[in-house]
Amino acid sequence: MSIVLGFVALVAVVALTWLWKQGVADRPWLETGAVTRIPSPGGQPTGRAGLGIFLIVAGGLFALSGSAVSMRMGYADWFEMRLPGVIWIGLALLVLSSLALQAASFAARRGDARGLARWLGAGTVAMTGFLMAQGLAWVRLAESGQSLAATPGASFFYLISGLHVLHVLGGLAALARVGARQGRGPAEAATAIGLCAIYWHFLLIVWIAMLAILTGWAADAAALCRAILS
């Protein structure tokens, strides 16, 4: 459970720092009678706060999945699985998609409508490619005898990549909605596409972290760190 505890600790540090900045050391009982100050909350787009909270939930989901894998790895019958090469093509496409969305976000902020359309298209195509690569990886794995119930590693791979694909599909649906609403003005479009870009980076980081855990690299790196420290 160390992975999810690390995640919760990270969230706690961010939350406590934020709370401190928001004045949780104030003494409201001394502010009686006169108007001392009327600070106004908010100040950032509501959608960004909503996305931030959602990323904490989704991050927690994947951290818990990672924790389950790492606990299962401790058992004697665990062996590291050989992933098909197409996984790495998928990863490259995911990186490209993330970069394209970031470029689209910059274009939207500049008000460059043509650049925006081009980069959005590129990002969508790359993400669709990622989904196809994942589908192909599942087929290849099953062909090589590593079907869903065959080995513990394969079970976790299908489960976690499946959850990730569901999050990708949700992201694509949101992006389609943003694309359909572009007529509402450049400022709103820039905000919405900026949020999509953040989500795309999240999908990329999560997938890299999950691959690192599933391939055993994360465990190797942790063991190396422990060896260096001790």
Partner: protein
């Protein structure tokens, strides 16, 4: 940006977040069924939660009938008994308590208490309720499925949960339970996003975090905790569903059942326990923190005193929320964990008692020399404090490994958690309903019926759960449908019969409450605006009950915290949060 008019000389800055009108209903369906008004969604959540809670209440009667009079009721087989305890536990913890505190009180009170027109994502909020409703429908469907609902115990521990020896294990029961939980969590996430972001973004001007009523602090912190904890149950439910339907072995070791070698192998039931309790322990505080917050407000209003140690109360809520994520394995002392882990988790468990005790002291110090009105909300609040304290003290017993091991899986545990997260939060829910019923309906609940309801419930709850500790101490295990032929003394059977009679009586008192609720909705005395003379913002709306959009033309501006009671020199014994404090409302400024 803002529709709020302001005097440039007043020093009130313009709103940073635009005051957008909430979505209006365009027809019968969008007004009465798919409403996006948080107040209406709150009532939908509460109504559904209480309805399914009644099912769980009836199940508890059946459980007690079997335990008190074993063998008398032929229709309660051992399998049926397991199904009753499982569904009773799961419904009460998840579908009633979580849903009513966050979906019910959260939806109704957050926008009103922070001065917002509605939740920030009303459409998602509406979806949240309907996902919850679907979850309840799937849960209820399992009663009618072939083989009936699951009887795996509310913790759904594998491997037994999906084996043929457990009712519903290889049939539909466990599948429907897991699907229902998954739907619930998706729905809750949608609602939770709303509660958290509304508190972060939609507070009105002047409503700093440290001016929020403790109710909002409790619900907000519990929401954030639930958003972090429920994914653990989600992952566990999905993995178990895979094990049950697709033949994976996430949680299933190699095993032989009825002489047959099953196809499972290598999985770890302990992984499930970790995931389940990583959700399960914070869940206790997801229920308790809103109760803490609400009870603080009830005590301050009905004792006409500002809450003692507001800042400490806020910090204690946040610290309890954070600590509750590192205590989960105290539910697993008998799972064969390393003794050092037990030591660690016992230590963190006992540390939680510090901020919790701080809250209890602060409630008592708030009452100390207060102008205590023994209204129904106050009675229930007092009932909560005593009960929570009693339940918490036995928690200190169970938090220690050496005491927990012999008491594990006995009725002592059942008595403990019913006191601390059954009776105590329910007391707060009742107190809150008596307190906010005038705001919601414009009428008062009957005081006389309420008094009968309170005393029967309070004394009855102790008649049920106090003796149950002794039943546990003599070694009676939980989850056994019939112990009459075993080693326990005859006096246990007598005590069990007594507990069952008390349980049925308390159950009947809840029907009296439902009658009071229904009767008062129509015939109750009309409530005057702000009948409890409360200072918090939800009572200061232009109309009572508040209309769609809550605040009329202008959003309120907040000048103070929510606890200005019995202020020396003020003309009334409270000053509302949106009262600018002009000399007109004061006899002299101190």
């Amino acid at each position: 940006m803002s529709s709020v008019s302001e005097d440039p000389d007043s020093g009130i800055p313009p709103a940073e977040v635009p005051d957008l009108p909430p979505p209006h209903a365009h027809g019968w369906w969008s007004r009465w069924v798919f409403s996006q008004d948080a107040k209406y969604i709150a009532l939908q959540y509460s109504g559904t939660a209480i309805a399914i809670g009644m099912v769980a209440l009836v199940l508890s009667w059946l459980i007690r009938m079997q335990l008190g009079f074993p063998g008398v009721f032929d229709f309660i087989s051992a399998e049926a008994y397991y199904q009753f305890i499982t569904m009773h536990g799961m419904i009460m913890v998840v579908y009633l308590l979580t849903a009513i505190f966050l979906g019910g009180f959260g939806n109704y009170l957050i926008p009103l208490m922070v001065g917002a027109r509605d939740m920030v994502f009303p459409f998602v909020n509406m979806l949240s309720f309907w996902m919850y409703f679907a979850a309840v429908v799937v849960l209820v469907a399992s009663f009618f499925a072939p083989g009936g609902p699951t009887g795996a115990g509310w913790t759904l521990y594998p491997p037994q949960a999906i084996l043929s020896g457990t009712p519903g294990g290889t049939g539909w029961g466990i599948v429907l339970m897991l699907v229902s939980l998954i739907l619930f969590i998706i729905g809750f996430t949608m609602g939770g996003l709303n509660y958290a972001v509304t508190v972060l973004q939609a507070r009105t001007r002047g409503m700093t975090l440290m001016r929020m009523p403790l109710t909002v602090w409790g619900i907000f912190t519990a929401t954030v905790m639930a958003l972090l904890a429920f994914p653990a149950l989600f992952v566990a439910a999905v993995m178990m569903l895979f094990d049950r339907l697709l033949g994976t072995s996430f949680f299933m070791p190699a095993l032989v059942e009825m002489g047959q070698q099953l196809s499972y192998g290598g999985g770890s039931p302990i992984v499930f326990q970790h995931l389940f309790w990583f959700f399960g322990h914070p869940e206790v505080y997801i229920v308790a923190l809103p109760a803490f917050g609400i009870v603080s407000d009830l005590i301050a209003v009905h004792a006409r005193k500002n809450i003692f140690g507001y800042r400490m109360m806020v910090w204690a809520i946040v610290i309890i929320g954070a600590l509750s994520f590192i205590v989960w394995a105290h539910h697993m002392y008998v799972s064969g964990m390393h003794p050092y882990f037990g030591f660690f988790f016992a230590t963190t468990t006992l540390i939680i008692a510090v901020p919790t005790a701080l809250k209890v002291y602060n409630w008592i110090l708030t009452l100390w020399r207060g102008d205590i009105h023994l209204t129904l909300p106050m009675l229930f609040a007092l009932g909560f404090i005593v009960t929570f304290l009693n339940g918490g003290l036995t928690g200190l017993f169970l938090g220690n490994v050496v005491v927990d091991v012999p008491l594990s899986d006995t009725m002592f545990v059942v008595a403990h958690f019913h006191m601390v997260m059954g009776v105590a939060p329910i007391m707060v829910i009742f107190g809150a309903i008596y307190h906010w019923f005038p705001l919601i309906s414009g009428r008062m609940l009957s005081h006389r019926l309420g008094l009968i309801h309170f005393w029967v419930t309070f004394i009855g709850a102790y008649a049920i759960f106090f003796p149950m500790h002794y039943v546990g101490l003599v070694g009676v295990p939980r989850r056994y449908p019939d112990i009459s032929a075993s080693f326990v003394p005859d006096s246990v059977a007598t005590l069990n019969a007594f507990i069952s009679v008390a349980a049925l009586t308390v159950g009947a008192a809840q029907i009296l409450f439902l009658f009071n609720f229904a009767w008062s909705l129509r015939y109750g005395r009309k409530a005057e605006p702000n009948p409890w003379r409360a200072a918090s913002l939800e009572w200061q709306t232009p109309e009572m009950p508040p209309r769609h959009g809550n605040w009329g033309k202008e959003l309120p501006v907040v000048y103070r915290w929510a606890y200005e009671y019995s202020v020396p020199g003020a003309s009334r014994d409270f000053i509302a949060q949106d009262d600018p404090g002009h000399p007109a409302s004061w006899s002299h400024v101190p």
